[in-house]
């Protein structure tokens, strides 16, 4: 399994896209952090960038990569290796390289410019989002045979989580605004890893007070350590669940 991961990583490095991604993130981070004298503002901008681009780039790149390396996968499977380990090794290779790209591209500038717990959480959020969306890409890959269809679904998924979900959520909040829906809303955001990441990060910053201002429950729940642990646990769950599902599907898949 280690050998497969190694080959996937080497292949990705030769591909250079991951390196370009790293450099892009680094340039973005340095310019965003350099623009604003207030580091908290810079972190917020960087958070916005991460929440928008990381999911889309990750899911697209991972899906395309999985489809492109389908021959390599088939070749491996003709050897006496478990399907599970092949799939997980491929996942580990892609996820590790993308997460590494984020850690270097965003983490290094942050380390030099704004080091602190908030920066650490931002990098953690980014890495978790990378893992989640690679995991989703894997699920998309095993569920659809056709590459074009797979990429379509990947784009759809990314858009759903970045935009559509929040749109539906705001529609829900609007329609049921007269009812005590605070708890339900906290429950609902658990279904969107991007919202979870955003909330997790905002809780580290001063602006969390703005959320507390508008609802006692938000303050009580999100303001405490429980809120952060809740978001973190949900995000980890988001990594594992699609991964297990894809392993399960892949085991029985007719290649």
């Amino acid at each position: 399994m280690k050998i497969i991961i190694k080959y996937v990583l080497l292949d990705l490095l030769r591909n250079r896209i991951v390196i370009v991604y790293t450099v892009l993130l680094a340039i973005l981070s340095v310019s965003v952090l350099g623009l604003d004298a207030n580091p908290a503002k810079g972190l917020l901008s960087l958070l916005n960038v991460s929440l928008l681009f990381v999911p889309i780039i990750t899911i697209l790149f991972a899906t395309i990569y999985f489809f492109n390396s389908i021959e390599f996968t088939e070749l491996l499977l003709s050897q006496p290796i478990k399907r599970k380990s092949v799939l997980l090794a491929e996942y580990a290779g892609v996820a590790a390289s993308l997460a590494g790209a984020y850690a270097i591209g965003v983490g290094l500038p942050l380390l030099f410019l704004v080091s602190g717990t908030e920066s650490l959480i931002l990098v953690l959020t980014g890495i978790l989002l990378t893992l989640i969306f690679t995991s989703l890409a894997l699920l998309i890959f095993v569920k659809s045979r056709d590459k074009t269809k797979g990429i379509g679904v990947a784009i759809g998924t990314a858009l759903f989580f970045t935009l559509l979900f929040d749109g539906l959520l705001i529609a829900f909040i609007y329609s049921f605004g007269d009812y005590p829906i605070d708890k339900a809303v906290i429950g609902i955001i658990a279904f969107n890893p991007i919202d979870l990441g955003r909330v997790l990060m905002l809780l580290q910053l001063d602006v969390a007070v703005l959320m507390g201002y508008s609802g006692a429950l938000f303050k009580k729940f999100l303001g405490s350590a429980t809120g952060s642990i809740f978001s973190l646990a949900c995000m980890v769950f988001w990594v594992i669940l699609p991964l297990l599902l894809s392993v399960k599907v892949f085991k029985k898949k007719d290649l």
């Binding site: 503002k41 958070l47 970045t162 935009l163 705001i170 609007y174 605004g177 906290i186 905002l202 201002y213």
Partner: protein, 414 residues
């Protein structure tokens, strides 16, 4: 004129000056061995009592004469956590340079470090007042001064504590250069008129840094209000002037730099509002001139309820605020003019320094959260950014009367 004549004049002079010294400026010195109450009752009006350094375990001291009590190197008067310390019931008293500490706490009387009752022209200055329920308590007193005192306490909750400087039914007070920390309210005014509060620092009080009600025609200037539980509250008052004050880091989920409730015909100018949850919260207020202020890095720079009318906001700087203005209605009877807004992205073709298209300070997302606070969970999400941008192009939800028709392109130098 002979020598005798000159000598006689000299003698007359000397005798007169001696007489003055004896009759008008007798000075008495006391040490911790003396009973200060006895001394104070024996001296005459106009005398000066010097209090030597040391620890005086004496309290409930009543000042009945117009005298000056001057401490040397802060002699300590201790209330033993049971009693009050100084109670002034005579006019023209000066209390200076004492350390007053540990008053009692009672639900029957307001225990104070220095209490002024029905007096005028009393000055409390350069005192250290520590761990008192009320620091300086002015009751129905006029023309009094509270100057350059350090008033500290470690109150835990609102019910168990009092105020740093507490004034009730007074006029023409001067409260200046005091440092007030750890009380319920730093400065509390009720029915206090024609007074000046200046150069005070009110930091880390449990409730308000400054709290005043029914106190007309007062001036507040050059004060610093920092880190107080809920900022500053100004209620039911007209003719207030606030200028050059600093409101810093009144940050918490029920906090604001300044709350204006039923205030009218007032001026708020040249103040700095930095890092507060809400800069100005305005309710039922009319004809207030808000100008030349700086609002930086606040959650909401201003929350203006629809019950406000006739207010003018001009020539202020707004930058780095999460939300510039929030309001709870569509009706807007206030005027915004020539402010600098960092979120303004219009243009200025005729180069007169004002933007050519109006700026709408209320973002659509702030309208939504005002209506449904739960929507705050989507703060900083991509969707809300898009909604704000779309609304900027075609205003439909935001109150379109609330706008700045000539927003400045450059920051005012304030």
């Amino acid at each position: 004129m002979g020598r005798v004549e000159v000598a006689r004049r000299w003698i007359v002079c000397i005798v007169f000056s001696l007489l003055t010294a004896v009759t008008y400026a007798k000075s008495v010195r006391i040490t911790p061995a003396n009973n200060i109450q006895h001394t104070l009752d024996r001296v005459a009006d106009g005398d000066t009592v010097y209090v030597s350094k040391g620890s005086y375990n004496q309290n409930n001291i009543i000042v009945r004469k117009a005298i000056a009590i001057i401490g040397e190197e802060y002699p300590v008067f201790d209330g033993g956590k049971k009693n009050e310390v100084f109670i002034v019931i005579a006019n023209n008293v000066l209390i200076k340079g004492l350390q007053v500490q540990n008053t009692g706490r009672s639900s029957m009387t307001d225990m104070a470090g220095v209490k002024l009752q029905n007096v005028s022209h009393v000055t409390v200055s350069n005192c250290r007042i520590y761990n008192t329920t009320y620091g300086v308590y002015l009751q129905n007193s006029n023309q009094c001064k509270v100057v350059a005192n350090t008033i500290k306490a470690n109150s835990k909750d609102e019910l168990q504590s009092g105020n740093g400087v507490h004034a009730w039914k007074c006029n023409n007070l001067l409260i200046s250069h005091n440092v007030l920390t750890g009380h319920r309210d730093g400065i509390y005014f009720e029915f206090v008129t024609q007074s000046l509060i200046t150069n005070n620092k009110s930091i880390g009080n449990i409730r308000y840094g400054l709290h005043f009600m029914f106190s007309h025609n007062d001036i507040y200037s050059y004060n610093t209000f920092e880190n107080n539980g809920a900022g500053v509250a100004v209620m039911y008052t007209k003719g207030v002037t606030m200028y050059k004050n600093t409101f810093y880091r009144n940050w918490g989920d029920a906090s604001y730099a300044i709350l204006l409730k039923d205030i009218s015909d007032s001026k708020i100018e040249y103040n700095k509002f930095t890092k507060n949850t809400v800069g100005i919260f305005m309710e039922g207020s009319s004809r207030i001139h808000v100008a030349y202020n700086t609002f930086a890095d606040n959650g909401w720079a201003m929350r203006i309820q629809a019950s406000c009318d006739g207010n003018t906001f001009e020539k202020n700087n707004f930058f780095g605020n999460s939300f510039d203005v929030a309001t709870n209605g569509t009706m807007m009877l206030n005027t915004f003019r020539s402010n600098y807004w960092d979120k303004y992205d219009g243009y200025d073709l005729n180069k007169d320094g004002n933007g050519d298209i109006p700026y709408y300070p209320v973002s659509v997302y702030s309208v939504i959260t005002e209506r449904i606070p739960t929507a705050m969970i989507l703060y900083r999400s991509f969707l809300t950014n898009i909604m704000d941008e779309v609304e900027k192009m075609m205003p439909s939800i935001i109150p379109d009367q609330l706008r700045d028709d000539e927003p400045r392109l450059k920051r005012w130098k304030l």
